[in-house]
């Protein structure tokens, strides 16, 4: 088992009342799964994804990731954990505007303290695999949305994560670009066994996954 959420609650105080963002979420994810989280706006999809990605905290419940209990870990260990095992893909790509494609890909490796020669090799591999060698010296602003997201996925993959978390990865793309990204996810999941959890609005994209989780008002339905 890759991760397990048990009775997760998350809330904010608003005018003396608790407004629940997540309510009693229980979830088990096995390695190699491809899960789509769906639900209307404000149902807590992204919050759940961020909790899983350890970018956000929760108020109650337990969370085990690779049999480490995340809720008891300190911030520093938590970030070590996710930098080792989790890659993020964002709706608006979130590449660093001041760095070239190549440099953007290299960045996660820097934070993992990987040696220069090895970094070069890994980046070259990734460029090759995604067919973007010719674009390595361009800045994000010089790429189309689909190409940027391709780089975003490549960056998420370069650290060889066990889990990819994608928050509406195709939300800013046209249908053809969406198709390409989803095909890529499917391939990664099937051929390399990378576990993927995506948040999506689109039924069509959700179909790529092996399991769909529906949320409404912070609750699993």
């Amino acid at each position: 088992m890759l991760l397990q959420l048990r009775n997760i609650f998350k809330w904010v105080q608003q005018g003396g009342q608790r407004v629940f963002l997540l309510k009693d979420i229980n979830l088990e994810v096995q390695e190699g799964e491809f899960i789509s989280i769906m639900g209307p706006s404000g149902s807590g999809k992204s919050t759940l994804l961020n909790v899983i990605g350890m970018l956000d905290t929760f108020d109650e419940g337990e969370y085990d990731f690779l049999s480490e209990s995340v809720h008891t870990l300190k911030e520093k260990y938590r970030s070590n954990l996710y930098k080792e095992y989790i890659g993020f893909v964002f709706q608006s790509y979130h590449l660093l505007d001041d760095l070239t494609v190549e440099e953007n890909l290299e960045m996660p490796l820097l934070y993992k303290n990987i040696k220069g020669s090895e970094r070069k090799a890994l980046v070259a591999d990734m460029l090759d695999r995604f067919n973007i060698v010719g674009k390595k010296d361009l800045f994000p602003a010089q790429l189309s949305g689909g190409q940027q997201q391709l780089v975003g996925v490549a960056r998420a993959l370069i650290g060889k994560p066990k889990l990819i978390l994608a928050d509406e990865p195709t939300g800013n793309l046209n249908s053809q670009q969406s198709e390409e990204i989803m095909q890529l996810f499917k391939k990664l999941n099937e051929e390399e066994g990378v576990t993927i959890i995506q948040v999506t609005h689109s039924e069509k994209n959700a179909e790529y996954g092996s399991r769909i989780i529906n949320l409404l008002d912070g609750r699993k339905i």
Binding site: S46, N50, G53, L55, D56, E75, K76, S79, N80, Y82, K83, E84, F88, F90, H94, L95, L96, D98, L99, E103, E106, M107, P108, L110, Y111, K112, R155, G159
Partner: protein
């Protein structure tokens, strides 16, 4: 990793050029000011460090009390030398008598120049550790010898070897050059000493000095000592403090206290208030140090403010980096190294600015500061300075930016809270508080200087020159020369005096007069003048009459000034006598024939001293004072005078000074301080405005959408301008109210040092506040109007 940070930092700088110019430019300006002030302070603190033994050298000082007022100074009587040599010689390695530094004529062949120099006892050159380039180390051994500074030797001898050649001093004494020493640097108390002649010669050629051997009351000499190894200044002072009081009854009533004044204090801590050492120039070192620190602080505040203002843009980067696995420490490290790069870059620009402005600054401050390229200490200090500035300027953005939560910034829901701008506002308030205080301080300093400048001097200083007459050649020739000069048409009236018009060189006491209070210890400024003195200066006679050559008895007459009339307590001074209180061998009594208007001879900030003008019976004055012909040009007059002068004194170099120029010297120090603080204030304001400018542009951008919505709803340009400017103006108003009391307190304290001073008026403060507000409005408006005029459709579409 560091390389990656470098890259990001560099590209960031290039991408936001406007921001970079404001940030780097502001910081560089601040650093340049701090660097220059640092160099200035360094120069001040190393004053006299040319002398290797500076820690063990001291000058012998004396405090005496007249009528309850204690005066302190370096003038000591000759018998003190014998007393110290006889009783205390093991306290000193060396002890030398020394004359004041005076101008003398030096002549070799047909070359004649005027240079300042001293008479010293034999051990002088060794005590001060002069660097002998040529000739004898012990150059004062022979009575008829003279040591020259290198520049003096060059001026007299050119390429000839000066050693052994004969120089004629004061047109009468033939002395052999025994040695040449390196020029003493500018930041040294002996910078003016261009030659040294043996003390014995001084005694041999001046009767009055020889006669002063046993005169404890004639305080006309200087004495320097080098301490013996096993003792300290305090110990020796303790031993010798009562030596004069114990040995001489006559002067004991003035409670003379002898003490050693260490060389390290000569320059910076040379003020004495009622016998106690009370600071001195060191206060300016502190003042400029504080200004420098503040200017740097202002520049750092800009850096912090602009960096945090831009944080929303960098926020995304923080979020991405955190989600990829960066830890907070790494982000802090990244932002600090970025800050370091910017500071380093600014430092390089600052050095360029310093190099460009150093000459101008040297002119302003009368220094000869050179850039210390080869000084390891300087570079070490600079590195610490850079690191410190980087830390100071970068720490707030580093800590602030790195604390962002990735989820918040990435989701785009990140909003700086209601109080997120508060630290920024506080920093702006600090900046403007400092700037407004600077403005007020500068205005008050300038006002005080102008106030003293506009004070009536009591005589007409325009068109008046003085010519020094230090040589025996002038003796007895006054009447002849007066006829010649006036006859030439260039001079309408002339006179002689024993001290320059703008100084008091001599003070006397020991008189008796009718109605003198019991035990009164008088102290009168004493100037010997020719009968035409008042006429040539246009000095008004307020009572009685001027000297007249028609009355032979006037040779024992005196004029007193108005202050002296009050001081002596005379209702009707005319016809009264000042008698010598020496009963055995009295000088003839002096009859007061007139009262003249007070004239400023000392500090223009102090009340005029009580003084008497005595008929010069010996025709042995130090200066000719000449009233130039107002119908001719000054240059024409000077040429005519020079021709007459050369005809009669061919061997003496012709020198003259305009009195108004000499008088202007009295303001030089305050004016320098005023100009410098004016310049620094302007820079401080400029830096603050740069910051404000940058900040407004960010706020305008931040509120772009809001401005767009408001405009769509019907806001006018004025409404938007008003909205954006108001916030900043509020901050500046707060700053004013903090700055005014602080500035009032400090400047009021400063003014207390000047007995003749301005009264602080409310409008000075109002003016400074108005000025600050106007500058703020001007700075803010540029961006505010630009933002207000932008097309709302564009700004709304971007979302």
């Amino acid at each position: 990793m560091f390389k990656n940070y470098l890259k990001i930092a560099w590209r960031n700088l290039l991408k936001n050029k406007g921001y970079t110019i404001i940030n780097v430019g502001g910081l560089a300006l601040g650093m340049a000011v701090t660097l220059i002030i640092g160099l200035w302070i360094q120069d001040e603190l190393t004053y006299n460090s040319y002398f290797k033994n500076k820690d063990s050298i001291a000058q012998v000082f004396q405090s005496q009390t007249f009528n309850g007022e204690t005066g302190t100074g370096p003038a000591i009587p000759r018998p003190l030398e014998k007393a110290l040599r006889d009783g205390y010689s093991d306290n000193f390695k060396h002890l030398i008598m020394c004359s004041w530094t005076n101008d003398h004529y030096l002549k070799y062949g047909d070359k004649s120049i005027s240079r300042p120099g001293n008479y010293m006892q034999q051990a002088g050159p060794e005590l001060f550790g002069l660097n002998i380039i040529k000739g004898e180390k012990d150059g004062l051994r022979e009575i008829n010898s003279i040591m020259l500074s290198q520049s003096t030797a060059d001026a007299l001898f050119g390429s000839e070897d000066p050693i052994g050649k004969t120089v004629t001093v004061s047109n009468e004494h033939k002395l052999n050059v025994s040695a040449v020493y390196s020029d003493i640097p500018v930041n040294n108390s002996f910078n003016d000493t261009e030659f040294i002649i043996p003390w014995e010669k001084y005694l041999a050629v001046n009767e009055w000095i020889k006669n002063a051997e046993d005169s404890w009351g004639n305080n006309s000499f200087q004495m320097f000592v080098e301490l013996a190894d096993n003792t300290t200044i305090e110990q020796v002072t303790d031993r010798i403090k009562n030596v004069k009081k114990d040995l001489n009854e006559d002067t004991a009533q003035f409670n003379p206290q002898i003490f050693l004044f260490p060389m390290k204090d000569w320059y910076l801590r040379s003020s004495f208030e009622n016998g106690k050492q009370e600071g001195g120039r060191i206060k300016y070192v502190w003042l400029f140090g504080i200004i420098g620190a503040f200017v740097l602080l202002l520049a750092c505040i800009n850096f912090m403010n602009l960096s945090t203002a831009r944080s929303e843009k960098r926020g995304k980067e923080v979020g991405i980096r955190k989600s990829i696995g960066s830890q907070r420490g790494q982000l802090i490290y990244q932002f600090l190294s970025e800050s370091f790069i910017v500071v380093l870059f600014a430092f390089i620009v600052a050095i360029l600015l310093v190099l460009l402005s150093l000459n101008g600054f040297n002119d302003l401050s009368r220094k000869e500061i050179v850039f210390p390229w080869g000084n390891g200490l300087f570079w070490g200090a600079s590195l610490i300075f850079i690191l410190f500035t980087a830390l100071l300027a970068g720490s707030y953005p580093a800590l602030y930016l790195s604390s962002f939560k990735p989820v918040d910034v990435l989701k785009g829901t990140f909003k700086t809270g209601k109080y997120a701008g508060l630290p920024r506002k506080i920093l702006v308030v600090v900046q403007f508080t400092v700037s407004v205080a600077f403005i007020i301080g500068t205005v008050i300093v300038m006002q005080q200087i102008n106030f003293a400048k506009n004070r009536p001097v009591g005589y007409d200083k325009e068109g008046l020159i003085q010519i020094p007459t230090f040589s025996q050649d002038f003796n007895g020739k006054y009447d002849l020369m007066r006829t010649e000069f006036i006859g030439s048409g260039a001079v309408v009236e002339m006179s002689t005096s024993s001290s320059p018009t703008t100084r008091i060189w001599s003070n006397r006491g020991g008189f008796v007069w009718d109605g003198k209070p019991e035990g009164f210890q008088e102290d009168l400024a004493w100037t010997e003048v020719s009968p035409e003195y008042a006429k040539s200066l246009n000095l008004k006679i307020v009572e009685g009459r001027d000297f007249s050559r028609d009355f032979a008895s006037d040779s024992l007459g005196i004029l007193i000034n108005e202050t002296a009339k009050k001081y002596l307590g005379m209702e009707n001074p005319i016809g009264q006598f000042l008698r010598d209180d020496d009963e055995e061998d009295p000088n003839p009594p002096l009859k007061i024939i007139g009262v003249v208007q007070d004239m400023i001879t000392q500090s223009p900030y102090e009340p005029v001293k009580q003084g008497v003008y005595v008929y010069d019976r010996h025709d042995n004055a130090s200066y000719y004072n000449m009233r130039l012909n107002p119908n001719e040009s000054a240059t024409q007059n000077i040429t005519t005078i020079e021709n007459v002068f050369k005809e009669h004194f061919p061997d003496i170099p012709f020198e003259y000074d305009f009195i108004d120029g000499e008088y202007g010297e009295k303001f030089a120090s305050e004016e320098r301080i005023g100009t410098l603080s004016g310049v620094f204030t302007a820079l401080a304001i400029l830096i603050s405005c740069l910051g404000l400018f940058g900040l407004t542009s960010f706020v305008a951008e931040q509120r772009k959408k809001e401005i767009g919505v408001r405009k769509v709803l019907g806001a006018s340009i004025f409404n938007v301008w008003n909205m954006l400017s108001k916030d900043f103006l509020k901050l500046v108003v707060i700053s004013c109210f903090i700055a005014v009391p602080i500035a009032y307190f400090i400047m009021n304290g400063w003014l207390q040092e000047y007995p003749y001073r301005i009264i602080l008026k409310w409008w000075i403060f109002a003016l400074a506040m108005m000025g600050a507000m106007l500058v703020t409005i001007a700075t803010v408006s540029f961006q505010a109007i630009k933002a207000a005029r932008a097309n709302p459709v564009k700004s709304l579409r971007t979302e």
